[in-house]
């Protein structure tokens, strides 16, 4: 038999039909819905008089457009002050109630950012096809799923048919060998990868992340990496199944028990690329070369080690790059040649589907513990990714560490990652952010985003400017706690 990649295996096992025109009908096991990209899809179903193909494949929750302020959340959906937002959240509730779709409502245990919620509830399982009207759906690939974002027309298509019309992507493998140093997190690894291959480097491809760095990484860390596959242009990012995958899944709410669990595990263990499987593109990085990363521009590929200088337009190799750097520096209000570790920060955001899981909270708390937010910082938002993350963090006392340091402990949601709610940057403000996109205006009109890890963001909050978190860690190494 021909050697197959993990992606090939997932594709083959979900193929309903290969159509004559070269497209394929692909079966979808799990469909995750949220308030922003679903209302027009439900409306489409109603207009066409169609019902969902089946109900037990769908799961929904509001996340993008909800307040993270406790005082606003306690008032429920009816208490959302912005009428347009209230209607959108209410519409998700109404649609899920009407069609019978399982929803974790705004203040219910289980609610959270779609890509935090799915895996933590065990709604996402290895070997599944997972789609959601959100480009960061690649996150679920950390559990060896074929997971990707779709548009609203496809949300409607999946609801109505349980299938997508797809064409097969190419295979790409990003291999990172070695052991990362102290203070180097999964976020730094994926930012370094994007820096190397570029924001369109993975277009048309499904990326499999392999090598000792990912084998050593926790499942939550792998989620951070797969989450940002889309920032390298790839709709799909994946890591093969190993013992960590199996033990992560065990015991979660929707994960099978008893004989069914054993049966599932024996299948899941086959979800690895064959030894001699073919990849159209192979990329190699070495852990030794990766140190904490920070973006300085307006695309995730505009990234550099924290020890570097902001690039100079005149040093660029061609006119196109020069123009790109000039435009980015102009927007960011930065001069070429400035040390990255001297850039002042106005606000800090720790959260998003990239970095809002319990390990991220612990990582940030480890740096924040016993320290104070710098006086020049206007706000530090700590936004847990889900109700379950929030409860766990509070049980560990992390909320108290953040509050004692002068940070705000918020309710779960997407928050300042895309700034659809009130959590946003002001014009010209710099933000140390653990989110995934540093596009112009992403976190608020005129806002200037610097992407980095939770540890780096917490360190920036304390220092008042971007700083190499490794300085903090060697300082506190006597505590015996390692990241």
């Amino acid at each position: 038999m021909v050697a197959r990649t993990l992606y090939d295996k997932l594709w083959d096992s979900h193929l309903v039909n290969e159509n004559d025109d070269g497209s394929s009908l692909l079966y979808i096991d799990r469909h995750v819905l949220h308030e922003v990209t679903s209302p027009q899809a439900f409306e489409g179903l109603r207009i066409a008089g169609r019902a969902p193909w089946r109900l037990d494949t769908n799961i929904a929750t509001p996340d993008h457009n909800i307040s993270t302020e406790r005082s606003e959340r306690v008032a429920g959906v009816a208490g959302i002050p912005d009428e347009i937002s209230r209607i959108q959240v209410q519409t998700l509730d109404d649609n899920c109630d009407h069609f019978g779709i399982k929803e974790f409502k705004m203040n219910e245990m289980g609610q959270g950012i779609v890509h935090v919620m799915g895996p933590e509830l065990g709604a996402t399982m290895p070997g599944m096809t997972v789609v959601c009207g959100d480009s960061h759906t690649a996150t679920h690939g950390a559990l060896a799923c074929l997971a990707h974002g779709i548009g609203t027309s496809e949300v409607e298509h999946v609801l109505a048919t349980q299938c997508l019309v797809s064409t097969k992507m190419k295979n790409m493998r990003v291999n990172v060998e070695g052991t990362v140093g102290l203070g180097v997190t999964p976020k730094d690894v994926v930012l370094a990868i994007i820096g190397k291959i570029g924001t369109a480097g993975g277009s048309g491809h499904a990326i499999e992340f392999s090598g000792s760095v990912f084998r050593d990484m926790s499942i939550e860390g792998r989620m951070t990496v797969c989450n940002m596959a889309i920032e390298a242009g790839a709709r799909v990012g994946m890591v093969a199944v190993d013992e960590k995958t199996i033990s992560y899944c065990k015991g979660r709410e929707f994960i099978p028990k008893g004989d069914l669990w054993l049966q599932a595990v024996s299948y899941w263990q086959t979800l690895v690329s064959d030894d001699d499987a073919f990849f159209d593109i192979e990329v190699e990085l070495h852990a030794d070369d990766i140190i904490p990363q920070v973006t300085w521009g307006t695309s995730p590929e505009m990234v550099a080690p924290v020890t570097a200088l902001v690039p100079r337009p005149e040093d660029q190799v061609n006119k196109e790059l020069r123009k790109g750097v000039e435009r980015a520096l102009d927007y960011m209000g930065l001069e070429g040649g400035t040390p990255i570790a001297s850039i002042s920060v106005d606000r800090v955001f720790i959260g998003s589907c990239t970095n809002s899981r319990i390990e991220d909270m612990r990582e940030a708390a480890h740096v924040a513990k016993g320290r104070q937010v710098a006086g020049s910082i206007k706000q530090v938002l700590i936004v847990p990714g889900s109700q379950m993350v929030k409860a766990q963090a509070e049980a560990e006392g992390l909320d108290k560490i953040f509050i004692a340091a002068g940070m705000e402990w918020r309710e779960p949601g997407c928050s300042m990652c895309l700034a659809m709610n009130a959590d946003k940057l002001g014009d010209g403000e710099h933000c140390a952010s653990t989110s995934n996109r540093n596009f112009e205006g992403r976190q608020g009109k005129g806002g200037r985003t610097h992407l980095m890890s939770p540890a780096m963001a917490a360190a920036a909050a304390v220092a008042g400017h971007i700083v190499d978190v490794r300085l903090f860690l060697s300082e506190s190494s006597s505590t015996g706690v390692e990241l």
């Binding site: 039909n17 159509n19 025109d21 070269g22 009908l25 096991d29 990209t37 027009q40 409306e43 066409a48 089946r54 109900l55 037990d56 494949t57 769908n58 799961i59 912005d82 347009i84 937002s85 959108q88 519409t91 399982k102 065990g122 709604a123 599944m128 009207g133 959100d134 480009s135 990707h148 548009g151 027309s153 496809e154 409607e156 298509h157 109505a160 048919t161 349980q162 299938c163 019309v165 924001t199 369109a200 277009s203 242009g233 709709r235 929707f254 099978p256 599932a264 196109e320 123009k323 790109g324 435009r327 895309l418 700034a419 659809m420 996109r437 596009f439 112009e440 205006g441 992403r442 009109k445």
Partner: protein, 215 residues
């Protein structure tokens, strides 16, 4: 779905790489539960000097004079000439909705982000891929000629300029047929409903844990 066969129209430029979907339609407009009405907010942050909010009347908002598409010569443009990796970022279908509502029927660029590319076809917007060299030629011609128009033909898969140059483009046949005929893709898939049911029966036997847990 809206059908597309051929289109002739005025060309407007968006001369920068990696135009992302946040730029095409900023997040505050995603609060709408409708598919229509996004045109006045296309490129909102680049196009206007003030901050836009959903539901606002845009007719009296201050236009950014430095934003090329605001120049009178590009009023009524229906073909957007763009650079590589156009539409990168989020999966929001509001991006093609906004382009279509503004009046763009065609985008021409050297490459697109995968999800955006796919979303265009669902909304009667044709994303044409030409080589970087060909796109460069079109940018040069556009700059030099006011009222510059192109003819885009989906049947022949060609872009033709008034000087008679013809540029061919590729796309897959399924997308082409759907767009040409304005087909209801869900209806097309449901023709295969029996195959989907068969697949499900087999899947439930082989991987029973996939079903039933979520109630």
């Amino acid at each position: 779905m809206k059908a597309f066969t051929q289109h002739r129209g005025l060309v407007g430029p968006m001369d920068r790489a990696n135009v992302d979907t946040d730029m095409i339609i900023p997040k505050q407009f995603l609060k709408s539960i409708k598919r229509s009405g996004f045109g006045p907010n296309l490129f909102d942050e680049l196009r206007y000097l003030d901050h836009g909010e959903p539901g606002q009347d845009c007719t009296d908002r201050p236009l950014n004079p430095d934003f090329t598409l605001n120049e009178p010569r590009y009023r009524g443009a229906s073909i957007l000439l763009a650079q590589k990796n156009f539409g990168c970022g989020s999966s929001r279908e509001h991006a093609p909705w906004a382009l279509e509502d503004y009046g763009f029927n065609v985008v021409i660029a050297p490459s697109y982000a995968d999800i955006f590319y796919n979303n265009c076809f669902k909304n009667g917007v044709l994303p044409v891929i030409l080589s970087e060299a060909e796109v460069d030629i079109l940018f040069l011609e556009l700059e030099g000629a006011e009222g510059y128009e192109l003819d885009v033909n989906l049947v022949n898969q060609t872009v033709t300029s008034d000087s008679g140059e013809v540029f061919s483009f590729a796309l897959d046949q399924f997308r082409k047929q759907c767009l040409l005929q304005g087909l209801d893709e869900i209806g097309l898939t449901l023709i295969q409903a029996e195959k989907i049911r068969q697949y499900e029966v087999e899947r439930e036997k082989a991987h029973p844990w996939v079903y039933g847990a979520i109630k």
